[in-house]
């Protein structure tokens, strides 16, 4: 296999992986935007999204089958269900703490993450759950490069969701309000915006995107596990930071960059698969130290 083919393959791999990272990173960045909270539970909502999607597909596959059609329907159901769970978590755990010290709300988020993880651990006994679908192995050959149909559908879906989100944020009343809330809560209240409702909407949308990613990942890779949200949560946060936390296009860009970094990191001699995560975290630390606002983030007022 020539180098250029390897590069092309890793490009495709990075794109697929990056799409997942981007979808999860979007939720991180949106939630951070409106309440300045690093939602540690976000990766776990991705995991819960996978399981809910799996249950939904099991329930409806008799009628719609378990091809992409069925998976899309299951994904939608999962987005709605887990989106509501996200709102519920915000109301119960985060809302009362909005004015508490930063440390308290961060630890609360960590606690929510642990509750979700261990609840699923208890329910599944820590076992992997096989996610059966009717997805085939087919694909197209572009010269020596093979791209599976599944990969294409996946990237297209992720792109579609991101376009829909961009439209929602820039062209709808809720989206505009969301951006306003991200800038200044008090000002929004004065202008008659129901800040609390907008925070709810943000959690719903952000969490639903993670649930969509979780369902697609479960279907695409074929298994679910209670701890599967941990690594991707960490990586998605890294992606959000690289892109500039609070910035929606930044999250997409950061996701793709990180996906590509990891794919190519595996291929680089001296890094390889064993050191690829060290590489990713080192990039995170470097970005935070050298350019804390990320690539597309707005710079905050400099304070000495």
């Amino acid at each position: 296999m020539s180098l250029s083919v390897i590069i092309a393959h890793q490009l495709v791999n990075g794109l697929v992986l990056g799409s997942f990272y981007a979808l999860v990173a979007l939720g991180y960045t949106m939630i951070f935007g409106v309440i300045k909270l690093l939602n540690f539970a976000h990766g776990d909502l991705y995991m819960v999204g996978g399981f809910v999607g799996f249950l939904a597909l099991s329930a409806i596959s008799g009628v719609v089958g378990s091809g992409w059609g069925g998976i899309f329907l299951a994904m939608l159901l999962s987005m709605i269900g887990v989106g509501c769970l996200g709102v519920l978590i915000e109301r119960i755990a985060y809302h009362p703490m909005l004015h508490a010290p930063r440390l308290s709300i961060l630890i609360t988020a960590l606690a929510v993450s642990l509750v979700l993880q261990n609840a699923v651990l208890a329910l599944t006994g820590g076992q992997y759950t096989a996610f059966h679908t009717d997805l085939g192995f087919g694909g197209i050959h572009l010269g020596p490069i093979f791209i599976s149909y599944n990969q294409m559908v996946l990237v297209a879906t992720a792109a579609g969701l991101m376009v829909a989100l961009e439209f929602f944020v820039t062209h709808t009343q809720y989206g505009r309000a969301m951006r306003a809330v991200a800038i200044d809560h008090d000002m929004c209240r004065l202008m008659g915006i129901d800040v609390s409702a907008i925070i709810g909407v943000t959690f719903f949308v952000g969490t639903a995107l993670a649930a969509a990613a979780g369902t697609m990942a479960g279907a695409y890779y074929g298994s679910l596990w209670y701890f599967m949200g941990f690594l991707i949560g960490l990586k998605a946060f890294t992606a959000a930071v690289i892109g500039g936390i609070g910035s929606i296009p930044g999250a997409m860009l950061g996701g793709l960059i990180l996906g590509l970094l990891e794919s190519f990191g595996t291929q680089i001699p001296g890094i390889g698969s064993a050191w690829k995560d060290v590489f990713a975290f080192a990039v995170l630390i470097l970005v935070l130290v050298l350019k804390p606002t990320g690539l597309l983030g707005k710079s905050e007022q400099e304070r000495m």
């Binding site: 960590l110 606690a111 509750v115 993880q117 261990n118 064993a274 975290f281 080192a282 995170l284």
Partner: protein, 325 residues
């Protein structure tokens, strides 16, 4: 549950009253220490091991308490310093045959250096960024230990020799019970001394209001770095003795879960409150043992407990706001 939490706190009330009363505190501590000193013969090996473990966690939790409870920095990778101590001692004694007591100060120095390297550039960051950077740092240390030959890769190091002290071979579980009891007492002593000092107050000033603290002439980065380094040294000390106690260490012992468990001890008992943190360490070690019958549910029970504490009693189960001053 919330109501019960308060009830639990009320039960701890008399205990707290004793701990807060300067007249009763001395004798109460004396009695407690005496009981712990004469207890081992009456304890089975299991209880000895569990209590030893609890003492280890007292040291770790008090170390993290300096970082989280005093300086207000959320460190999600504290196990990394624990690992640095354990591996420094493990490598130097097992691979190079260096005497344990020589490796101990080296472990402290390496941990301090690690604290400076990771803390130096990142302590200026906002707190949630710092949390994730420390998490990433913890993972880097774990993965590095897993990949490197000198750390014994994933299997870790085995056959770490147990130390001698003036002709006493510290080897049995009971020996280590006393060693860790001593370490815990030292950790408490140092924590108390620091809490009442110029540096201890500076941590709190920075934690409560960074701007006002700076306006009072406190260099927040330097003060935070001091917390970070001292916390790292607590972790490394615990790690060093952990390594010789088990005789074998592997990267699994220094995972994210380990960091979370130590953090839980700090938060459950009450951040910044020394008796609370000690209680928290005992809760996270003895609790799961008492809940052994609950199987996979026990971690869930703990997670829910942590969440409820944060929602209804963010100052922890130990009564009062800031004790031990």
């Amino acid at each position: 549950m919330a109501g019960r939490n308060i009830q639990a706190a009320r039960l701890l009330g008399p205990l707290a009253a004793v701990a807060e009363n300067p007249r009763l505190r001395g004798p109460a501590l004396g009695i407690l220490l005496a009981v712990l000193l004469i207890a081992p013969p009456a304890l089975g090996s299991y209880a000895t091991v569990i209590l030893t473990n609890a003492f280890l966690y007292v040291v770790l939790a008090l170390g993290l308490n300096i970082v989280v409870g005093y300086a207000g920095l959320l460190d999600l990778g504290y196990a990394a310093f624990f690992a640095v101590g354990a591996y420094t001692v493990g490598i130097l004694t097992e691979r190079f045959g260096v005497n344990f007591w020589v490796t101990l100060p080296i472990a402290l120095a390496v941990a301090g250096l690690a604290g400076v390297i990771i803390g130096g550039p990142t302590l200026r960051l906002r707190s949630d960024y710092l949390a994730i950077v420390t998490l990433g740092f913890g993972e880097i240390v774990r993965i590095s230990a897993r990949n490197m030959k000198i750390t014994g890769s994933a299997s870790g190091l085995t056959g770490i020799e147990q130390p001698w002290l003036f002709g006493w071979h510290i080897a049995t579980p009971r020996d280590f019970y006393y060693v860790f009891l001593l370490l815990a007492v030292l950790a408490v002593f140092i924590s108390v001394r620091l809490a009442g000092s110029r540096l201890g107050r500076a941590w709190l000033y920075v934690r409560y209001d960074e701007d006002a603290a700076e306006a009072m002439g406190i260099d927040r980065v330097r003060v935070k770095l001091a917390a970070y380094i001292i916390g790292a040294m607590f972790g490394a000390t615990a790690g060093a003795f952990f390594a010789v106690n088990l005789g074998a260490i592997s990267p699994e012992s220094f995972s994210f879960n380990q960091s979370v468990l130590i953090l839980m001890a700090v938060v459950l008992g009450g951040m910044g409150k020394i008796p609370g943190v000690i209680l928290g360490a005992f809760v996270v070690i003895i609790g799961p043992e008492l809940l052994r019958a609950a199987g996979d549910l026990r971690l869930l029970i703990f997670a829910i407990f942590l969440l409820l504490i944060m929602l209804f009693r963010p100052s922890g189960i130990w009564p009062g706001r800031r004790a031990g001053r």
